[in-house]
């Protein structure tokens, strides 16, 4: 820390924070500096994704690098930005950086230095990183780095996170600053608190635990929500503000204007730009944000995206399926028969295969979304649909969440932090899980073959159309639910769009690769854990049961076999199915059967449904377990086993059209993901909204599925 002289390296590793305006390239630089040595966690108390990684500089101990969310100034308007201010005004916090890499887009220096001057006035050791140096020549800029460093009083390094230039120099600068944090202490602040703030500061300066005047001023502005400010201090600040008639917004305007006046001449003297030309982005936007073509192109892009998704992921999925089938068969051959082998093959391997087979689709979906984001298209999509979204009580930015929701609701819900209006944000969080996330794909794939015949119409396969229909149903229900919530909830808070549209850029492929890899890894770990656990528990529940009931079932089967003279195979099948019925899982299934009978489900589906409430992708694994128990000899595909399933009462197949559609609709609407509920709870700060979310989605699922079944059967 700046005030403590040198850094005490023995205590903890030094922390270096990447801070800067949104889209200045912090994450790109972070990826370049840390490669895959990153950890993703959460900032304490809130679910803003915290990315940290380690960097080795010369002989220094490893440095921890933290990628902070983008912020425009020390006066935050969204939760993401609040976090930056919160951590940088808390010298006692764990994340308080020993040095800051202030990342600025060199082509927008006239805007990006606002936050720089504010942080500088907090007396934080900083390096100014001029990112996007590759654009300097392209845009005809001339930048005098030495003069800039002299005028701002900090080391300045020009780098390009895209072209990987200037990194060695940057590392040297970091090393230098960490060794001697006192070297670049500011001599005088960029801004002296003006008339509007002077009185309140005079009152509070001694009482606040502040490093300097500007720190005190920020505490006076933000005491009400800063977590590290104790309640008592908060009251005192409030009193002083009222007494001196402190007007936070006016003081902020005054400060900001003055800061621009201070740093503008510096930029003017050190950065020279050639005449402005109509840029490439402008010409592209003439088409992509056109009143009519814009939305049309958006829809076409989405259609192509999903078309490509299913066209390209077929063969890797078949490959993975084949690997797990072979693995299961091999294990069964190699090991002696017994409960352990059954557990391994029917529980673990079948369960894991059920998750991993969908990795290609999830990876592809994240790949497309990340590219759209990197290119700069997402901001345009938000602009195009803002007016439409507003009618449904949402914000243009909700589009990003609703698209990402098709990959996974968790990062989608987290992306709503950029929506400043609480009601719009809440609505987006509530309805995003209705979009068909990739975990639903396996369920759809299996059930659609029972619901829709093969064949095609005008070149479109029926099953493909049904698939598209389910996605559409998800989006439609999300919008309509938002509308209902909008009418029910009242809010006076003003809502803003005010969205910056970045220039179009070719993606930095390193960023794309790392992002996709991390999302897929998280999916495998999170879903894999749950599914493995459930597979094992389910296997146990379906193998064991109340001893009396199991014994009775066994005796019953024996009797039947003797009476009817069944062969060995048939006897085994009968035994297995009777035992499943007598097992604990069977009891659970039977217990909920009356409730799901109107939806067209039997107690076996009940077991799958029950286990799906932890994570919906478990459905397939559960089916594998339930049906492979019926016959352990031949490893038929789950789908074939399901097709063979006959309802003993009616003699008809269990998976007829009505039941399959009813199940599909149920899985479109039902809230079956513990992880999403947990994120909703954290994001909304309590149990109220996740409970409402769970109830409304599940009720919707139940009622719709019942209607579908009753109409179709």
């Amino acid at each position: 820390m700046a005030t403590s002289g040198t850094i005490d390296f023995s205590k903890t590793r030094p922390v270096v924070g990447l801070v800067g305006n949104p889209n200045s390239g912090k994450s790109s630089l972070f990826n370049l500096l840390t490669g895959l040595r990153q950890r993703i966690g959460n900032f304490p108390g809130v679910t803003v994704e915290k990315k940290s990684g380690t960097l080795q500089i010369e002989d220094l101990p490893p440095v921890e690098i933290i990628d902070f969310p983008g912020a425009y100034s020390c006066y935050p308007t969204s939760l993401d930005e609040r976090l930056v201010v919160q951590e940088l005004t808390n010298p006692k916090g764990d994340l308080f950086p020993d040095a800051i890499l202030y990342v600025a887009d060199v082509t927008k220096l006239d805007k990006h230095l606002l936050l720089f001057t504010q942080l500088r006035d907090l007396d934080l050791p900083m390096i100014l990183v001029l990112n996007m140096a590759d654009l300097i020549k392209e845009e005809g800029l001339q930048v005098d780095v030495t003069a800039l460093s002299h005028r701002l009083g900090v080391p300045v390094v020009a780098v390009s996170a895209r072209a990987n230039t200037g990194i060695a120099e940057l590392k040297k600068a970091i090393g230098g600053l960490l060794r001697d944090p006192q070297a670049f202490r500011p001599e005088e602040p960029f801004y002296e608190p003006g008339v509007l703030a002077r009185d309140v500061l005079a009152d509070l300066r001694q009482e606040l635990p502040a490093r300097n005047d500007y720190h005190a001023l920020l505490l006076a502005h933000h005491a009400s929500w800063l977590k590290h400010v104790p309640e008592e201090t908060r009251h005192r600040v409030q009193k002083a503000r009222v007494k001196n008639g402190f007007h936070s917004l006016r003081a902020q305007v005054e400060e900001t204007m003055e800061r621009y006046d201070t740093f503008e001449p510096i930029v003017h003297d050190t950065v020279r730009r050639a005449g402005a030309k109509a840029s490439f982005s402008d010409r592209v936007d003439d088409v992509l944000t056109h009143r009519v073509f814009g939305p049309v192109i958006f829809v076409v892009i989405m259609l192509l995206l999903f078309q490509a998704l299913f066209a390209w992921t077929g063969w890797p999925m078949d490959g993975i399926e084949w690997v797990f089938e072979t693995l299961g068969n091999t294990v069964r051959e190699k090991l002696s028969p017994g409960w352990l082998t059954d557990l391994l093959v029917d529980g673990v391997i079948a369960g894991l295969g059920g998750v991993l087979v969908f990795v290609p689709q999830i990876a592809a979906l994240f790949l497309f979304i990340t590219i759209l984001e990197e290119v700069g298209y997402m901001a345009r999509a938000a602009y195009l649909f803002d007016s439409l979204m507003q009618r449904f009580g949402l914000n243009g930015r909700s589009v990003v969440a609703l698209i990402s929701g098709h990959a996974c609701a968790i990062p989608a819900i987290m992306s709503t932090r950029t929506i400043a209006n609480w009601k719009e944000r809440l609505l987006t969080i509530m309805v995003t899980p209705l979009t068909s996330c990739s975990a639903r794909i396996p369920v759809y794939v299996i059930l659609i073959s029972f619901a829709v015949p093969e064949g095609s119409f005008l070149g479109f396969g029926y099953q493909g159309l049904a698939f598209a229909g389910l996605y559409f149903l998800g989006i439609l229900s999300a919008m309509l639910s938002a509308l209902i919530f909008k009418l029910v909830l009242k809010s006076q808070e003003r809502s803003f769009l005010m969205l910056e549209m970045p220039d179009y850029r070719t993606p930095v492929w390193r960023n794309v690769g790392i992002t996709v890899w991390q999302k897929v890894k998280t999916f495998i770990m999170e879903a894999g854990k749950i599914i493995l656990l459930i597979s094992v528990v389910l296997w146990g529940l379906s193998t064991y049961g109340p001893p009396a009931a199991m014994e009775e079932a066994r005796a019953q089967v024996q009797k039947t076999v003797e009476e009817q003279g069944l062969d060995e195979q048939a006897a085994e099948d009968l035994m297995a199915s009777e035992q499943l019925e007598a097992s604990y899982a069977g009891h659970i299934g039977k217990f909920i059967e009356p409730a799901i009978r109107p939806l067209g489900y039997d107690w076996k589906i009940g077991i799958a449904l029950f286990s799906s409430f932890a994570a919906r992708e478990v459905f397939v694994g559960t089916m594998a377990i339930i049906y492979s128990i019926g016959s352990t000899e031949d490893e038929l595909r789950i789908r074939d086993r399901m097709a063979d399933e006959i309802n003993p009462d009616t003699g008809q197949p269990v998976y007829n059209r009505a039941t399959a559609w009813s199940l599909l609709v149920f899985y479109v609407f039902a809230m079956m993901c513990m992880a999403t509920l947990a994120v909703t709870k954290r994001e909304t700060g309590g149990w109220k909204w996740p409970i409402i979310q769970f109830t409304f989605m599940t009720t919707l699922a139940y009622v719709s599925a019942m209607i579908v079944y009753q109409v179709l059967s």
Partner: protein, 77 residues
């Protein structure tokens, strides 16, 4: 010569431009100032968004999406 009166940017039509004089809403002023929009910046309405209500605006070199209510708080001279 008529006295130059300032107009809210929401009264403009696509293609019109002018210089920002001041903001009439403090909340919005703070947000705009943060992203670098200031009195003295040149504002041009590039095009109206689909479904009405939002505008594609160019301020100095920067492209922004603003709602009509937001434009109403920006006075142009």
């Amino acid at each position: 010569m008529p006295f130059p009166r300032s107009t809210a940017a929401s009264h403009f039509v696509a293609g019109m431009s002018g210089t920002i004089e001041r903001f009439t809403n403090e909340n919005l002023a703070c947000k705009l100032l943060d992203i670098g929009v200031r009195p003295g910046s040149r504002l041009r309405l590039v095009r109206k968004g689909p479904f009405g209500g939002s505008w594609y605006v160019k301020i100095d070199q920067q492209c922004l999406a603003l709602r009509k209510q937001e434009l109403a708080c920006i006075l142009i001279k």
